[in-house]
């Protein structure tokens, strides 16, 4: 087989330098589902706090045990101090878990009279929208980030992103929800259309009759009534939705922000990471580097995988009880080498197409990460990667 051009080692992603850089105010961990976004966000925030930063971490759906160990069992949608953090260097750590429904309520309350806010909250369509719509979580994560940034309490905000197949959702969903709420059809339903040119208006209205009558047939009058009441109650806020999303989006472009892309050494995860990296560069958003998480590594024993398996087979066939243990260890070693080689290759492939993206590797720990010590352990590995 042709080994192809050997990938140059990518630049090292120095996470400590990033978190020690006081100009950096926002760190966002992104990546596809299950790769370790929440874990690394928490580990980064803890490490930053113990290195002297006043940090806050916004987590989204953390694993239960991790949440408990950070004192996040209380869901009140505001940051609370994390106990057990070493404040020697003058730093501190607050943490919160996003409650998207509550965040949505807060947005509504801020933008309208108490009376209207009450009406909106009681609207069944609003209730569905704020608790279970695709994109709401992303929108509210951005919203919360904007709120945290506006407060003077912290000098570093670490933001976790919602579990999603595609890392791009974090960037796209708020805009999508914004344009839906701001969109033509929903405004027509609310009777608040302010369409442009006349021909357009005519076409739209002809189509609109078919649209509403079909919608009514399929969805029923009640839902449409809810939507239209909601739209009218919200009318004054409509511009607000887009604007807010745009403001936070702009925040993400500032040099005070650093995106960290997290990926596991799997083809799917790295493909998503590639899309995301390309998107950041297209939108001129500041990428700090790639955290390749849960990488398998093996020390150099000077024994290759094939060699180990062959030796294990020899020992096993000799059916010598004394060597059962060694045979097993050799098989374990072979498995581990194979995994390590595979992970290495997958990582290299990413770096071949993205040679400028700094990379840090975090080994797969034997146990999972569910307390401050585990987070510290991950944090200490930033250095070694």
């Amino acid at each position: 087989m042709n080994p192809g051009p050997r990938a140059a080692r990518p630049p090292h992603f120095d996470v400590d330098r990033l978190i020690d850089d006081r100009r950096i105010r926002i760190v966002v961990t992104c990546g596809s589902g299950g790769v370790g976004k929440t874990t690394t966000a928490a580990a980064i925030a803890l490490r930053a706090a113990e290195r002297g930063r006043k940090a806050v971490v916004l987590t989204i759906d953390p694993a239960r045990r991790l949440a408990q160990s950070m004192g996040l069992s209380e869901l009140d949608n505001t940051p609370r101090a994390v106990k057990g953090v070493d404040g020697e260097a003058g730093g501190s750590l607050d943490a919160m878990m996003l409650d998207m429904k509550r965040t949505f309520d807060e947005v509504v309350e801020e933008h309208t009279t108490p009376e209207r806010a009450r009406q909106i909250r009681a609207n069944p369509f609003y209730q569905a929208l704020s608790s279970s719509f695709a994109g709401t979580q992303e929108y509210m994560a951005m919203e919360k980030l904007g709120q945290l940034r506006a407060r003077p309490d912290w000098d570093l905000i670490v933001v976790d992103t919602p579990p999603s197949r595609s890392a791009l959702d974090f960037l796209d969903a708020p805009e999508r929800l914004g344009s839906f709420l701001d969109g033509r059809l929903i405004r027509l339903l609310g009777g608040t259309a302010r369409a442009g040119g006349r021909t357009y208006l005519k076409v739209l209205h002809a189509g609109f009759n078919v649209v509403t009558s079909t919608l009514t047939k399929i969805l029923g009058g009640e839902l449409l009534k809810d939507v239209s009441t909601f739209v009218n109650a919200l009318d004054t806020m409509f511009g607000g939705f887009r604007e807010r999303a745009e403001q936070t989006y702009a925040l993400l472009k500032r040099p005070e922000t650093a995106f960290i892309v997290v990926a596991a050494p799997e083809h799917d995860a790295l493909r998503e990471a590639s899309y995301f990296v390309d998107r950041l560069s297209r939108d001129a958003m500041p990428l700090a580097g790639l955290l390749l998480n849960r990488v398998h590594a093996s020390g150099a024993a000077g024994i290759g995988a094939e060699q180990a398996v062959a030796a294990a087979e020899r020992l096993e066939s000799a059916s010598d009880e004394d060597h059962v243990l060694t045979a097993a260890l050799l098989r374990l070693h072979a498995d581990r080498l194979k995994l390590a080689t595979r992970d290495e290759r997958i990582g290299e492939r990413f770096s071949t197409t993205h040679p400028d993206v700094p990379v840090t590797r975090i080994p797969a720990l034997a146990g999972d990460v569910h307390d401050l010590d585990g987070l510290r352990q991950i944090g200490a590995l930033f250095d070694a990667g």
Binding site: I218, L315, A328
Partner: protein
């Protein structure tokens, strides 16, 4: 005779990335073995099945994607809400062309956005239709396997009566929802949950099983995916975990195998064994939690070189051997 005699709709869920699509494909292969015809359908517009079976992207038309041992056939379908809606509009409202014209205004996206439950009914409705479809005097498909949304959304996805309760109270969608509900809550349906032996997937599995049971939807098996070979004998695990393996014995073994027998090599192997033992202990705890759920459990091995059509046969065999079919 397998564990799921009489089940016509197999729904496969699990935490994201645990192997739902892979297991759905393997289960379809296993069910088809011996001359049966099985449909496997996906609902998330991801073309996961095309990738799995290594065929060109699927459309809204059912296509044969594999043959199972003994003459069986697996068909695959990518259910798409927009197409399903057009089918609907044409069938029940005679809105064939007009239905398509509505799309220029973003109608389907809009309707399914303001009423996500509508989308679910459209998707499950298609699966329901395939389960019932008949060719001459027999079912077109002996079984239908649905590669469903992940655990967090699966109950809402399947429990379509609730989804449509806010929609039109009369009319074809509602009638359809009622029929789907009957099927989903009957012994002809089984919802299998895929998991890994890790904290979060197992937690989500437990939550999903509880939620499904509360919704009176029949829970099938728990499929533990990506199981690694044990290698180290159970009795060696405690010592391995503490890093207390017999140093001399390993040195002797290495020597006997003609390998470099140094203290450094033994130390490395011992360290790797400790990691392995720790991981195994963790997996054992998780496995106990899985067993506590009281459902049949199938284990599927981790295929070291990744999943290709050959590996799919291997996984299908493993399911069959453990009584899944």
């Amino acid at each position: 005779m397998g564990d799921w005699e009489g089940v016509r709709l197999h729904v496969v869920t699990g935490k994201g990335g645990t192997g739902k699509t892979t297991v759905a494909g393997a289960l379809a292969m296993a069910l088809a073995a011996g001359g049966r015809r099985v449909l496997v359908a996906e609902v998330e517009e991801r073309q996961g099945l095309a990738q799995l079976f290594d065929v060109p992207p699927l459309s809204y038309e059912e296509r044969r994607v594999a043959s199972a041992p003994g003459g069986g056939e697996v068909y695959a379908l990518a259910i798409d809400a927009r197409e399903a809606m057009h089918e609907y509009l044409a069938m029940f409202y005679r809105l064939g062309r007009a239905g398509r014209a509505l799309d220029k205004l973003g109608f389907v996206d809009f309707a399914t956005t303001i009423a996500p439950g509508l989308r679910d009914v459209l998707l499950t409705g298609k699966a329901y239709e395939a389960t019932r479809r008949r060719t001459a005097d027999h079912h077109t498909y002996d079984a239908v396997v649905l590669d469903a949304p992940p655990t967090g959304r699966v109950v809402r996805f399947l429990d379509v009566t609730t989804s449509v309760s806010s929609l039109a109270r009369v009319g074809p969608i509602n009638r359809q929802a009622n029929s789907i509900t009957d099927l989903i809550h009957s012994p002809r349906t089984a919802v299998h949950v895929v998991t890994l032996l890790e904290d979060m997937p197992v937690q989500e599995t437990a939550d999903a099983v509880a939620d499904l049971q509360a919704a009176h939807i029949p829970v099938g098996a728990v499929v533990v995916n990506q199981v690694r070979p044990p290698h180290l004998a159970a009795r060696s695990l405690p010592a391995a975990r503490r890093g207390r393996l017999d140093h001399e014995a390993v040195l002797a073994g290495l020597r006997a195998a003609g390998l470099p027998a140094t203290d450094a090599v033994v130390a490395l192997l011992t360290r790797e064994a400790a990691d392995h033992a720790e991981r195994t202990a963790l997996e054992k705890t998780q496995r106990a939690l899985v067993d506590d759920l009281g459902r049949p459990v199938y284990e599927l091995p981790r295929i070291a070189d990744g999943i290709d059509p050959t590996a799919l046969y291997e996984l299908a065999d493993a399911l069959a051997e453990q009584g899944a079919v």
